[in-house]
């Protein structure tokens, strides 16, 4: 199907953020009329490539060629003008504007005196939604749209641009099967009209269903580009991961102790309902599921940063006051949240202040803090986690992602928790640190700490967990022992259907 000359060539591009090399000398071609999959683990650099194509980031090295000529995409406007439309991983809508306006922003249909032709704009949105087979009212504001609907609006936005290159960064993450089917139908028709598609997804069945070629990335590097038909899913996974799981996930075997956490009938409308499970001392329990299945919401509700509608949470037999992180902390619960930048760390504060923030009361003497006790404690814990930093007084935001993650861990481990909840503990951190974090988690478990881990990385789940709980659409749908947990069984439970692994 690919035509002779590529529409777009990525040539040896590299991009680093500080010390993190997100993309290293990656090259691939994109032909008109093809759907090209980009796969790789979390943090492999896929979104970074997307952002370079979108003009959000500029490559440190390498070039991007359109129709054989190198182009400088310095702003998103440049990319738009070059005919590249992008669906970002995180929806970026204008909450106060109507859906139709969101779709048309920048290329609104004009009528008399160059005024915006609202009727045409609304019609256009209606047509796009009809094509996608969804009914979103074009004249409602974008505020309050569910994540899925936001994603659909993003898709409509990209379609409306009549672009030659459409880049879709996990467009299906929030969608259900039917919506995905509609999207694929539209995507195929775009492709058949000669557009080039870049498609990113963590779901292999989607890739095999839609794409002709697949480029695999690992740790920011290009691994391979093949015809989808010529490579099996197993092979893709092997190339993506590129290492033996056993070496990475050194789980020590522990006999579970007393029940530390017991959750009963926990629900929060409309995110999750009727969640019940237990975690014992020394156990690592993984909460698996697709992105958006409600896992983070469950653990946040347990910790008390989110409210809950019903159910109870007991820690060591004592019921936790709902909606109070303080009560949870007092009961020995620690939460390493999934979003390090927004939730885990106060980026503008120093390393030491971040490490000691939850314990500032405990570290004070007669209510006063002189800084010495905080510094000592921060030094001790960052050293224990082998954190690399200049000075303890540096802003935590200046650290590399992995070191930031270690600061978050230090912050909560220093509390000596009975129950450690970690949400995507290794997201966006490098391979070495990942191994360290895993070692740390299993040694904590060995010391008798109960660990509840939310992770989207199947290998991590399979490698670390004593038990795997699987969530789907806000419900707990399966509980698998370490022995029974395989990629197939977990994916089957997570998706509610057979997968071709």
């Amino acid at each position: 199907m690919p035509t002779q000359t590529p529409v777009l060539c990525v040539r040896e591009v590299s991009k680093s953020f500080g010390a993190v090399a997100a993309v290293r000398e990656v090259s691939f071609d994109l032909y008109g009329g093809e759907a090209h999959a980009l796969v790789g683990e979390n943090g492999a650099g896929k979104s970074t490539i997307v952002k370079m194509l979108a003009g959000v980031h500029r490559p440190d090295d390498g070039t991007i060629e359109l129709d054989g000529t190198p182009v400088e995409l310095t702003t998103p406007a440049d990319a738009k003008a070059a005919g590249i439309a992008v669906i970002y991983q995180e929806p970026a809508l204008f909450p106060d504007l109507t859906v139709a306006e969101n779709i048309a922003m920048g290329h609104q249909p004009l009528g008399r005196f160059n005024t915006i032709d609202r009727a045409a704009m609304t019609r256009r949105a209606e047509q796009l939604f009809a094509r996608l087979g969804v009914s979103i009212e074009p004249n409602r504001p974008a505020r309050g749209l569910s994540i899925a609907d936001q994603q659909l609006v993003e898709i409509a936005k990209a379609l409306s641009a009549d672009a030659r290159v459409v880049v879709m960064d996990e467009p299906t993450a929030a969608l259900t099967g039917v919506e995905v089917e509609r999207l694929f139908a539209v995507a195929r028709s775009l492709r058949d009209d000669g557009a080039a598609l870049v498609f990113i997804s963590h779901r292999f069945e989607e890739i095999t269903a839609l794409c002709e070629r697949v480029t695999i990335m690992r740790d920011g590097r290009h691994v391979s580009t093949d015809l989808v038909a010529e490579v099996t899913v197993d092979e893709m996974v092997r190339r993506m991961v590129g290492r033996e799981l056993g070496a990475l996930f050194p789980k020590q075997d522990v006999t579970p102790g007393v029940v530390v956490l017991s959750v009963e009938g926990l629900s929060r409308d409309p995110v999750f309902a009727d969640i019940s499970f237990e975690v014992r001392a020394g156990e690592i329990v993984a909460l698996a599921g697709l992105v958006g299945s409600g896992r983070s919401e469950v653990v946040q509700s347990i910790f008390g940063v989110d409210p809950r509608d019903g159910g109870s949470v007991k820690v060591s037999g004592r019921t936790l006051k709902p909606g109070s992180p303080r009560a949870a902390m007092a009961a020995g619960v620690a939460l390493v949240p999934e979003d390090r930048r927004q939730q885990g760390l106060v980026m503008d504060l120093s390393i030491e202040r971040n490490v000691t923030l939850p314990r500032s009361r405990a570290l004070s003497r007669l209510g006063f803090l002189t800084g010495g006790s905080e510094r000592r404690s921060a030094r001790e814990w960052t050293a224990r986690l082998r954190t690399k930093y200049g000075r303890l007084g540096d802003e935590v935001g200046t650290l590399s992602g992995g070191n930031q993650q270690k600061v978050v861990l230090a912050k909560w481990l220093s509390m000596a928790p009975k129950l450690l909840i970690v949400d995507e503990p290794t997201r966006g951190i490098d391979v070495g640190t990942k191994a360290e974090v895993h070692r740390l988690m299993s040694s904590l478990a060995a010391e008798g700490v109960a660990v509840l881990m939310v992770s989207s990385e199947l290998p991590e789940v399979l490698g670390m967990a004593d038990r795997v709980l699987v969530m789907r659409e806000g419900r707990l749908v399966a509980e698998l022992d370490r022995a029974k947990a395989t990629e197939e069984s977990v994916m089957f439970a997570a998706m509610g259907q057979e997968v071709s692994v």
Partner: protein, 341 residues
């Protein structure tokens, strides 16, 4: 919000749109109620002279409020408007005193230019200095006022020094409507149309609604921000000329403290302080409401001391109601998720 009833929108009017428009509707109702109560207790409140006085008073505040609304919609704020008004009024006053032959149109242009210069200084500092608008405009509030004092010293420009033609402009009418009111209406309509019906206008809303998304959408965020400050400055300058024409006496203190009134008018008019929503119509209505309250309280023989307290209470009420409406809308929208048809 975006759904003010103008022709051209498909007839997908739902009760939802009504709720969304309720904010401006609320001001209109409050205004109607106020006028009705006042007029019943004192019919002269509805006399031609009285209405004219209210409209004249509103005209100046409304022009300022329109400019402020433009800035607030982009998630910024301009506290320097009162000082810019003073500088412009004094500049124009001095010019007219020294050149009595100067045509009024020219005076309006000069005032707007003086304001536009101040506004672009604000804009450039905000954009390139990467300094929050509140700080920059608080700074220029002092600086511009100081410059005016330096220049004016103790002098005051009295009505008898201004050319009669200019003063007449402050009071004359066209078809019974004072020129000042016409100018304010013109400003309002033009700005309203640009904000609603032109790409530039929608981009201002987009910026205020989500700066991050605006950047991703390829909007020239910096240039638009400077533009918004320029408009606000130019309108403050224009308001300075209207001020000079209306009051006839100008000194360096003209317009002192106006900034808070203007922000109050904008907030009461339903423009969200965090940008992205609200209309200049609302802001102008806010200005009209605040001015009418002032007049009505005087006519109603309500102790003049209550006036400010009532205005303050009203602002709190307006933003509280705004939040309530927003919360209700959000709740309704959540329930009406789309689904595959």
């Amino acid at each position: 919000m975006t759904a003010v009833g103008l022709p051209g929108v498909t007839a997908r009017r739902s009760s939802l749109d009504l709720v969304l428009r309720a904010r401006e509707l609320g001001i209109v109702l409050a205004l109607a109620l106020l006028v009705a109560v006042t007029a019943i207790s004192n019919p002269r409140f509805l006399s031609g002279q009285s209405i004219r006085d209210i409209l004249l008073g509103t005209a100046i505040l409304a022009v300022l409020a329109v400019g402020q609304a433009v800035v607030v919609i982009t998630r910024n704020i301009d506290l320097s408007v009162g000082s810019v008004l003073g500088l412009s009024a004094f500049t124009v006053g001095t010019l007219l005193r020294d050149n009595p032959g100067l045509p009024v149109v020219f005076a309006l242009l000069i005032g707007a230019t003086v304001g536009a210069i101040c506004g672009s200084v604000n804009g450039v500092l905000v954009r390139y200095g990467n300094v929050p608008a509140l700080v920059v405009t608080l700074g220029t509030l002092y600086v511009v006022r100081g410059i005016t004092y330096f220049w004016a010293g103790g002098q005051q420009i009295n009505a008898d020094e201004l050319p009669a033609g200019f003063l007449e402009f402050g009071n004359a009418t066209l078809l019974g409507i004072p020129y000042l009111v016409l100018i304010a209406l013109l400003v309002l309509v033009v700005t309203g149309i640009v904000l609603r019906n032109y790409r530039v206008g929608r981009e201002l809303y987009a910026m205020g609604s989500s700066p991050q998304a605006a950047k991703l959408a390829g909007i020239a965020v910096g240039r638009r921000a400077i533009g918004a400050f320029l408009v606000s400055g130019a309108l403050a300058g224009l308001a300075g000329v209207l001020f000079a024409a209306r009051f006839g006496t100008i000194d360096a203190a003209a317009g002192t403290g106006y900034e808070l009134n203007v922000v109050a008018a904008v907030v009461v008019g339903g423009v969200a302080v965090f940008g992205g929503s609200g209309t200049v119509w609302g802001a102008a209505l806010g200005a009209l409401l605040l001015t009418t309250i002032g007049s009505a309280l005087a006519v109603l023989e309500i102790n003049q001391f209550w006036q400010q307290a009532i205005v303050g209470g009203l602002i709190l009420l307006a933003i509280g109601a705004d939040r309530l409406v927003a919360a209700r809308v959000a709740a309704r929208l959540k329930k009406r998720g789309s689904h595959v048809s």
